[in-house]
């Protein structure tokens, strides 16, 4: 049983006090430009997931606490949480740099720009 730390209210508790929300940083194409979403973009949004072995970026909700969503960086092999961060934020720079595989590709541009999630 994981111990999860809520980024918003600071509550710490068992994973069962939280709700796992899947991969982080998935942009919804229809929000940006509903009239011009390609089939491939929609498929990627609905189904394609970074399935990182190791450092992974994901969403959690403080289910039995403040009810707020937040982001977390977790190792999917050791289960260690490396950081939590706001639901509208990018991870700490050091973690973006430490990311591998698809996540490294994903963060490459963002590291260059330092832009918002």
């Amino acid at each position: 049983m994981l111990i999860v730390h809520c980024h918003v209210c600071g509550a710490e508790g068992d994973e069962t006090d939280f709700h796992y929300g899947g991969q982080a940083h998935i942009a919804r194409p229809a929000t940006r430009d509903p009239a011009n979403v390609s089939d491939a973009e929609q498929r990627d949004y609905l189904f394609m997931r970074h399935n990182a072995k190791g450092l992974h970026f994901e969403r959690w909700r403080c289910d039995r606490g403040c009810g707020k969503w937040f982001h977390a960086a977790r190792d999917t092999v050791t289960m260690e949480f490396k950081a939590t961060y706001g639901i509208s934020e990018l991870p700490p720079r050091a973690l973006m740099e430490a990311a591998t595989g698809e996540w490294a590709v994903f963060f490459k541009d963002r590291l260059a720009k330092g832009s918002e999630a």
Binding site: A11, G65, C66, K68
Partner: protein, 203 residues
């Protein structure tokens, strides 16, 4: 037509005996669910004007002014407690004060059932169904937090300590379940005290 008939969730349930703690249903409390933004000064000021108290902004804390209390539920949500008879009046005052301010105040007096646990063993009993570190210093008088309790969602409010008086809020539909759970787990034969002086183990 005669007065409206009032029936709480646990009305008519047996009073349990042989428990390590006293439990009873609290039926005279009114509750208002209040939403607003803690960093909206207009909102905080309006609430202060209506309730005469500063809403607590530190997580899991509560504040009280006279018979009105405010429990922190989230960064933008509080549970206001008051005598049930004053709920409507208070709600009207709140809504008036909050007119034009982004907020939502709803009477939720009947949504939850409150079970009060009293006695030294209250925390031990709750620990049979909650993974919170209830014996730590974090859980002092005034602490309020939501939790997963047994198989249900609940809200815990530590009213006072030594001896412990703890209010457990559960959604009304789960009241019977929570009551049954407390009876099953609170039996004196299942009394467990964590830490403190204990019998010396055999060697």
């Amino acid at each position: 037509m005669s007065d409206a008939q009032f029936e709480t969730a646990l009305q008519g349930r047996e009073t349990p005996t042989g428990l390590t703690v006293d439990i009873r249903e609290m039926t005279t409390r009114g509750m208002i669910d209040l939403r607003g933004l803690a960093d909206d000064t207009a909102f905080m000021a309006a609430v202060k004007q209506a309730l005469n108290l500063d809403l607590p902004t530190a997580p899991r804390t509560s504040a009280a002014w006279g018979e009105i209390q405010a429990l922190w539920l989230s960064t933008d949500q509080w549970l206001i407690l008051c005598p049930r008879t004053k709920t409507e009046e208070l709600l009207t005052a709140l809504r008036q004060a909050l007119a034009g301010i982004h907020s939502l105040a709803v009477d939720v007096s009947d949504m939850r059932t409150i079970i009060r646990l009293e006695g030294d063993q209250a925390r031990s009993l709750l620990l049979k169904g909650s993974s919170l570190d209830l014996l730590s210093a974090d859980y002092e008088a005034g602490t309020a937090r939501r939790l997963r309790f047994a198989e249900i969602a609940a809200l815990l409010h530590i009213v006072s300590t030594k001896p412990d008086v703890i209010d457990l809020y559960v959604f009304r539909s789960y009241a019977d379940y929570a009551w049954d759970w407390l009876i099953a787990n609170g039996r004196t034969v299942a009394d467990v005290r964590q830490f403190g002086k204990q019998a010396v183990p055999a060697t």
